[in-house]
Symmetry: C2
Subunit: 498 residues, 2 copies
């Protein structure tokens, strides 16, 4: 075969894979948003089968040989070579797994998700514990098949953030703890900011009306995006022009749905803005989870929690909630949105204490995989860590161990990327602010110009470059956690007049 013929065969294979992947993504979105619960077992069995078909395609020996061949072919251009290398690595990681075990695991993940939904609705960890145990055991077994010198957990960390491992994360979290913990203590000693008005009753119908305007401001429109609701907000997509987000409305928390929307739309833009010629290829995905979270956290915190953002939006919010917010000034509202107060829920945590929420999960994951922590009584371990790190007493499993979706489908190693991405974002903002007057753009309804900067410098490349490489391209330096620590200390020093 000529290189051209080989590439043609490779493209045909890519197209087939992308068709199964699209079906699984749409079935997944449907499951998490609108699908009737009683149909779950019927659907779960069948989507596991389809995942198995994709598995067979991805591990087809003929294709694996083709990928190996093509990745050494000098006539293949750099972009295709990068994609082929990634597919080849993925195939090697996967083909060692017996297909029936892979399919059974997919089915288990769907069932485990269903159990998590039920357990959360009843605030009862014991309903979810047996599934979590099985998911961990299965993951250990499946990762164990790989030909790798890394520990299971290090393999998982590397899957979500290529190049990262326990040692590096330990160092990263140590640096965070070193400056954050004493600083948080300082903050908690001074006079607290008001926030009681945020937790009044805010009828969801009115929140939805405000949301319409917010989505317009974000230029997140029906030509390429769609928002729905789900138990845990998420973003999914099939291609550049089909990115879906979800949110969750809380009647007693008016900023939860707003900031979770800005967060998820950040993910959606990343996918939307990737070079369209990568559509359907592995290159058309964000390069790592940390990089993805950097974009969502950048939108949520570095844009969505600024005074400039609220200068534009707060008068609109007041109009929908005159009784609740009519007497609250913009300054008071801004302070409340940013007030630091140790709490139970990661997704609603303030910027300052947020990394500690992630740290707790990271420590538990490490323990689950090195055997020092067990799924039995994990709710107690969870609550003890919240007491230790954040000083709070978790009242029940719903706002405790069951709050996050991630472990239900075996996504261990994902959580630390939230903290890493948050720190990435600080460094990106530093660079962006050199080029753009971000505050004026936010205040004057030009969110699109900020997105264009991110598109040009980060999004468009998709999976083309590794995260450290991209960081250097965008900011001129290697990743350095000090940008985040400087930013957060400066922000909170000012906010609390320390």
């Amino acid at each position: 075969m000529t290189t051209e013929e080989k590439l043609k065969k490779y493209q045909d294979w890519l197209f087939k894979c992308s068709a199964y992947q699209m079906a699984l993504n749409i079935i997944g979105i449907d499951k998490q948003t609108v699908a009737p619960e009683a149909g779950a077992s019927y659907r779960d069995a069948r989507s596991a089968f389809l995942a198995g078909e994709l598995f067979s395609l991805e591990t087809d020996p003929e294709i694996v040989a083709l990928l190996k061949d093509l990745q050494e072919d000098p006539e293949v251009d750099a972009e295709n070579k990068r994609a082929i290398q990634l597919y080849y690595k993925q195939a090697l990681d996967t083909l060692c797994i017996p297909k029936e075990e892979f399919v059974a695991f997919k089915k288990l993940c769907d069932e485990s998700f269903d159990a998590w939904i039920l357990a959360k609705s009843k605030a009862d960890y014991s309903l979810f514990a047996p599934y979590l145990k099985k998911v961990i055991e299965s993951q250990k077994k499946l990762y164990g098949y790989r030909n790798s010198n890394l520990s299971i957990y290090n393999q998982m960390l590397d899957d979500f953030e290529p190049g990262m491992d326990e040692e590096k994360y330990d160092a990263f979290f140590a640096a965070l703890k070193e400056r954050l913990v004493p600083f948080i203590q300082k903050v908690t000693k001074v006079k607290q900011l008001r926030e009681d008005f945020l937790t009044q009753s805010f009828p969801v119908e009115e929140q939805k009306k405000f949301m319409e305007g917010l989505l317009e401001y974000l230029h997140f429109d029906s030509s390429w995006g769609y928002q729905n609701e789900s138990e845990h907000p998420f973003t999914s997509w099939t291609c550049e022009n089909d990115c879906r987000t979800t949110t969750k409305y809380l009647e007693n928390n008016v900023i939860s749905a707003i900031l979770s929307t800005v967060h998820e739309v950040g993910h959606a833009y990343y996918e939307h803005n990737i070079n369209p010629k990568y559509d359907g290829m592995i290159l058309s995905e964000g390069v790592s989870s940390g990089m993805h979270e950097s974009q969502s956290r950048l939108c949520e915190n570095y844009l969505g929690r600024t005074m400039a953002f609220w200068k534009y939006h707060y008068p609109k919010l007041q109009k929908y909630f005159p009784k609740q917010l009519g007497e609250v000034s913009l300054e008071e509202f801004y302070q409340a949105v940013n007030r630091s107060k140790p709490s139970f829920i990661r997704t609603e945590a303030d910027e300052l204490t947020y990394p500690l929420h992630v740290l707790i999960r990271y420590e538990i994951e490490k323990g689950l995989f090195n055997g020092s922590i067990s799924t039995e009584g994990l709710d107690k371990t969870w609550n003890a860590k919240y007491k230790e790190y954040l000083g709070v007493d978790v009242p029940n499993d719903k706002v405790g161990i069951l709050q996050d979706v991630h472990w239900s489908d075996g996504s261990f190693g994902y959580f630390p990327t939230y903290a890493l991405g948050t720190a990435f974002a600080a460094q990106f903002m530093q660079a962006m602010r050199k080029d753009l007057d971000v505050d004026s753009l936010l205040e004057e309804n030009h969110f699109d110009e900020i997105m264009n900067w991110l598109k040009e410098h980060i999004h468009t490349y998709g999976f083309r470059y590794e995260a450290p490489e991209l960081m250097k391209m965008v900011t001129g330096e290697e990743f350095n956690v000090k940008y985040f620590l400087d930013y957060i200390e400066e922000k909170y020093t000012k906010l609390y007049q320390l």
Copy 2:
């Protein structure tokens, strides 16, 4: 292989087919409800590929041989035999089609649907005409591959309603025309009933609140059902416990969404109530389109347009729309819901003129397939027939030729089943009223008991018996159009005091 081994192989194959079918159904529901429009071409290409994979499974020569073998195997029980015969017939009808043509047709249907959506939004038939032409040409070619003595259109009619053909439909419509046309003339001569209050402005938000109560009344709940919105209301499903309907809210028509919901929920119940042991098999579908429409039309007209139904719902509707309906009596409202007035839109037509809407479509379909009517200028043909049969001048294509979704994906031969199903329903109601006090049940919020009767007598059998056989089982007689004609004449004689 023993019969048991053969059946095992057959069951494995069934499961695989059902997985692809489920994926295609969910992708289809997603496409018609929430999927971002700009992603359509990416998705359409891939769902056509998946339809092709299903095609390959369904026409796998080894499986076709197995089906042929099993349908003659005396050890196979009657239910499996019936299913195997249906699959075998389906395979024979399909395997003669070249796969690439089949896949291209699926893609064309999706593109044609997209073009129809666009054309409808612009009320411009010319944007849809080239797609309609291609769809018809493709259908002629694909049906032409079959080894059949029947004309193409007769094959299509038979696909939707086994046993029916042009000759039988001609006779059926002739019988309708013979009694309906002079009767309609009589009705239009007498004093018209008021209906102006139905077309005031009814804010959609309030309509949605009423809908919540209606869905509860119908016992259509989130454990097995879900309602969304779409351009053209439809029902789809993946299994007994996952049935989805859509509706469409019109601000200037308060009963449109209500009656379309009752209609679609009728379809949903049919699928929900089929014996669960048929899940994932061909037997788990309504036996014919006419039988399916009989259930939806039964709900819409024979239940949803009764005085008893409105005795329960009208006070609730008035509460949501006190300004619009506060001064309108139940009797006036009931009359308006049932008033007969020739109009443009089939789905909003009254019971009396509805069959004429269907007749127009039937005549056009016949013409398109025997060559006497062309897609060029079809909007004019459409409008001329509406003038001739219903005496109305169609103001634009949106409420004219573009109103229905059916032709966009090549579903010719479906329309006549609406009229047939409507007539089936009259005969079923006659039987049901012998067993149940339907009006009291409707008035006293016992919709479930009516559904239980339909489940027991009709739904549970799914595809087990042909429509004529089922009709005889349920009513003790063969289908007779006189039940419908007697019913409609009696109802409208009373309503118009003729």
